[in-house]
Amino acid sequence: MNLRVRTPLAAAVAIAAGLLILLSLFVTDFDEIRGRVLNWTILLAAIALLLGLVNLFTVHFDRLRSKQKPFYSAVLLVAMLATFGITIWDGSQGLIPAWIFTNIQIPVETSLMAMLAITLTLAAARLLQHRNDLMSTIFAATLFILLLGSGPLFGIELPLFTNTIGPYITKILSTGAMRGLLIGVGLGTLLTGLRILIGADRPYGG
């Protein structure tokens, strides 16, 4: 029988902790307890990160055992365990951890970002090729103007774009829209947060 019982304890904890933090912003007497709760949160977040590592390990260990693309999983597991072990042993600023970080993680991650320059250029070209609707035209035209205004092209500056149209779009049109988006996102955050604080939403599985 699959019984799904809602535990009030988890909801009570979420509501109490949230209200305490909110209250502490107005009542200074709660400063100390707020500091404690926040420090617990910091510790728990670090442990959650560790749980993520364990989960990644489990998934790829299972793949290794079931011989489901075992080579890639083996590479991942060896890299993960070696990096974790060495960094714990030597400290993140130690010679080998810093070497791994500098010569493996940074080059790959930066290169992935660099590759985005090519793929986004292709994506923008495709947009011009295929899309005809109004919004796509506005998007493409704005993108084009902003790129023209982002600096000199092959050393040639286009003052109309760099000094006039580009800054106007950036400072007026885009900023106005961003402000609207930010207010909207802020209101959404407020609503979502309140739903958690009144127990209407229980993302923690209570």
């Binding site: 933090i21 442990i47 590592l53 080059p107 506005i138 106005g176 207010i183």
Partner: protein, 242 residues
């Protein structure tokens, strides 16, 4: 065994250059070497992040105080330490599906604190300041000065810019306005004025998204420049060139 820093540096240069080339080669298409590098990267990134979390937080905030307690030189209040240990153990129960429910109160704590901080931050840091900015969008001081100085064109420009900025903000917000009037048995319908404003808002959002796209593209260009510069320097260093 003592590792030679010069050797390590040269080896690192070769490996970093090779990894850069392999990753950039994805532009030709996916291939097994690229995939291998990707898995290597994921492993390294996950291992490093977790190790930093353990080293900077878990050891200092939990493990060392517990060790101190056992060693008879307590460095933390016992109740506080007990709470931390208990919360940590409860969170660790999430590792197994059978015991995962025990960890719900702890994740609830994280969710509650996160929600409260998000609310406080959104209200104090975004909603109020942005509404304040939208309300004070007309630079009254500059407008007054422009009129006093006889710069009527500039004055008109200030008003016009303010109006456009305000229109962009309001229209964008209207796009996310879902309030609608009831129409008996039919679906609720949005006010035609709000609808028109929302249509305009969609255009402003397209402009904002284009600005974001160009930002990401230029960031990627910056990364590309750095990587190519690195490759040129690495080739120079390894081949003895400039």
């Amino acid at each position: 065994m003592q590792l030679d820093p010069v050797f390590l540096s040269q080896l690192g240069l070769i490996i970093a250059a090779a990894l850069t080339l392999i990753t950039l080669s994805y532009v030709v298409g996916d291939h097994p070497i690229f995939r291998t590098v990707l898995y290597l990267f994921i492993g390294v990134a996950a291992g490093y992040a977790a190790a930093v979390a353990v080293q900077d937080v878990i050891l200092t905030q939990l493990v060392y105080p517990i060790a101190d307690e056992f060693a008879g030189i307590p460095s933390m209040d016992l109740v506080e330490l007990g709470i931390r240990a208990a919360l940590s153990l409860l969170l660790l129960t999430k590792l197994s599906p059978r015991t995962a429910r025990l960890g719900n109160p702890v994740t609830a704590l994280l969710a509650g604190v996160g929600a409260a901080l998000a609310i406080a931050g959104a209200v104090q840091g975004t909603i109020l300041p942005q509404i304040g900015a939208a309300a004070g969008i007309f630079n009254a001081e500059a407008f007054e000065l422009s009129l006093q100085g006889g710069y009527y064109g500039e004055g008109i420009q200030i008003v016009f810019d303010g109006m456009i900025l305000l229109l962009a903000t309001v229209a964008t917000l209207a796009y996310f306005h879902f309030g609608a009037a009831s129409r008996g048995k039919q679906e609720p319908l949005r006010n035609i004025f709000v609808d028109a404003l929302a249509w305009l808002g969609a255009m402003f959002i397209a402009i904002a998204l284009a600005a974001l796209f160009s930002g990401v593209l230029l960031t990627a260009l910056g990364a590309l420049i750095e990587r190519l510069s690195f490759l040129i320097n690495a080739a120079g260093a390894l081949l003895g060139g400039p």
